[in-house]
């Protein structure tokens, strides 16, 4: 579903952030990316979403190479690519339901959404997604009143409302307590299976990677260190990612 081919990014100062990066994430699969600070994990996600333009390489979403798209074509392609961040990034003064439904805005014309609002079917679907993440009761509440864990679940519901084929998550549990972190990872794993989503998740928590990932990708200095099924990833290989970063 998501294929990254020979992806490289060189910053204007000459520093190589990613070098010939190769990655595939299939539908129904949860892939976790591990690596130290500055290893290129978040840069990888930003290249995939095209908020950064790679220097070379390809990012295929199904049959579409995102690296060749600009403007309206890129916007349309992004409809199928949902993203969850470390912070939930909700519109705090809008309702939870409105935040979730906003994931579908791009599927409708500006006139339709600004003058008449989203169709009732989308609002019903948004309520369904809220139920999926266990927050149906909070639909009418202001997003700014939610706890960190609840807000992150709403962000995931918004991502689902987008009806994406790929879900990217950049340290989605970094600001959550252990219990909420487990909850979010369980949710991502369940959604990968039930919604047949290709989920690519950047994490710092090694134990969570061991518990929930189907595959683990190690990244060091912008290059792939390993790309293995969870059961084949040794503790030593993971430790090396961080040791060599520190050295």
């Amino acid at each position: 579903m998501l294929r990254v081919r020979a992806l490289s990014l060189r910053y204007p100062d000459g520093k190589l952030a990613l070098t010939d990066f190769e990655l595939e994430v299939e539908r129904g699969e949860l892939v976790v990316v591990l690596g130290g600070n500055g290893s290129g994990k978040s840069t990888l996600l930003r290249c995939i979403t095209r908020t950064l333009k790679p220097t070379s390489g390809e990012v295929w979403l199904g049959e579409t190479n995102l690296c060749t798209l600009e403007g309206e074509k890129l916007r349309r392609a992004r409809l199928e690519l949902a993203m969850v961040w470390q912070q939930a990034n909700l519109i705090r003064r809008s309702s939870v339901l409105s935040n979730v439904a906003s994931g579908t805005l791009g599927r409708y014309s500006t006139f339709r959404t600004v003058c008449r609002g989203l169709p009732a079917t989308e609002l019903d679907a948004a309520r369904g997604h809220l139920a999926d993440v266990g927050l149906a009761a909070l639909a009418e509440q202001r997003a700014g009143t939610l706890s960190g864990g609840q807000a992150q679940r709403v962000a995931i519901a918004r991502a689902l409302a987008q009806r994406p084929r790929v879900l990217l998550a950049d340290e989605p549990v970094a600001s959550l307590d252990p219990e909420a972190s487990e909850e979010i990872m369980r949710l991502l794993q369940r959604l990968a299976r039930s919604e047949r989503l290709a989920v690519l998740c950047v994490l710092h928590q090694i134990e969570l990677a061991y518990a929930y990932a189907d595959r683990v990708v190690g990244i060091r200095n912008g290059r792939i260190a390993f790309n293995l099924p969870r059961s084949e990833v040794s503790r030593d290989a993971v430790r090396q990612l961080y040791i060599s970063e520190a050295a």
Partner: protein
């Protein structure tokens, strides 16, 4: 030997500290002298004569004596100019908001589509704000004639500058992460504006607008002095005709309008906070 060096260092440090203290003291003294100089020159330039206050007491007492009781028989005649005054302020605020929102989007560094649009919008905001509303009123009276319309236009144009700057600052201080998150869902530019930016900043914009309305009501009271309609025009006429009892009635009305607008504006802003 080393003790001598340490002593020398210590003396040196003490000497440097003493010199710094002396400079600091001298600077404070100069600043104090300057402040006194500025204060004294204001008395000279404004030709302040405190003795005139004492000799003027008699004239002031006579004025107050002739102004009471207020002439409440003129209340119905004052109703229309009062409504005009409030509506001049409302009109000016509405015009200001309508023009200031797009201008603020161009003048906000995080939203502007180009540097050229940014500087052009900032220039318009700066110019409309720099020219006082009374001057705008004089210009519009010349352009469209006497009456409340030039008053409304004057407040509208001046409000564009005042609101535009505050709106732009509000937009610049907005947390952009949720807006970028919405952009990445594939939402179009206007959808991001209507569903992301507006809900995020609407309470602030309303609060600023209410404060502006409060200010505009105060301004609209005096616009009549230059022929731009409202209760100010009636006040000026009553003063010129020595109708002091009518003047006192109009001053009571002005007091009620200002106080009412201030209280209502403050209460609404508190609810929005």
């Amino acid at each position: 030997m080393s003790a001598d060096i340490a002593q020398a260092h210590s003396n040196g440090a003490r000497g440097a500290r003493g010199w710094t203290d002396a400079v600091r003291l001298a600077t404070r003294f100069v600043i104090l002298l300057l402040a006194i100089g500025v204060a004294v020159q204001t008395f000279i330039v404004v030709e302040a004569r405190p003795s005139d206050l004492i000799t003027g007491v008699h004239g002031m007492a006579d004025l107050i004596w002739r102004a009471v009781p207020p002439d409440f028989s003129k209340l119905s005649a004052a109703a229309w100019p009062t409504l005009q005054t409030i509506d001049i302020a409302l009109f000016g605020t509405f015009v200001g908001i309508i023009l200031a929102v797009p201008l603020a989007l161009l003048a906000a560094a995080n939203m502007t589509p180009s540097r050229l649009a940014y500087y052009a919008a900032r220039a318009v905001i700066g110019f409309t704000r720099a020219v006082p509303d009374l001057v705008w009123a004089l210009l519009f009276v010349t352009a469209v004639g006497l009456g409340p319309f030039p008053g409304g236009l004057a407040l509208g144009v001046h409000s564009v500058g005042m609101l535009g700057r505050l709106f732009a600052e509000t937009i610049e201080q907005m947390d952009m992460a949720p807006i970028q998150a919405l952009q990445l869902t594939g939402a179009r530019r206007i959808q991001v504006f209507s569903h992301g930016i507006i809900p995020s900043i609407l309470p602030s914009l309303l609060g600023i607008s209410l404060y502006r309305l409060d200010e505009n009501i105060r301004s609209s009271l005096v616009l009549g002095f230059v022929g731009a309609g409202g209760i100010g025009f009636q006040l000026l006429t009553a003063m010129n005709l020595f109708q002091y009892q009518e003047v006192s009635l109009l001053l009571i009305i002005i007091f009620v309008i200002v106080l009412g607008a201030e209280r209502i504006s403050a209460a609404l802003r508190e609810r929005l906070a």
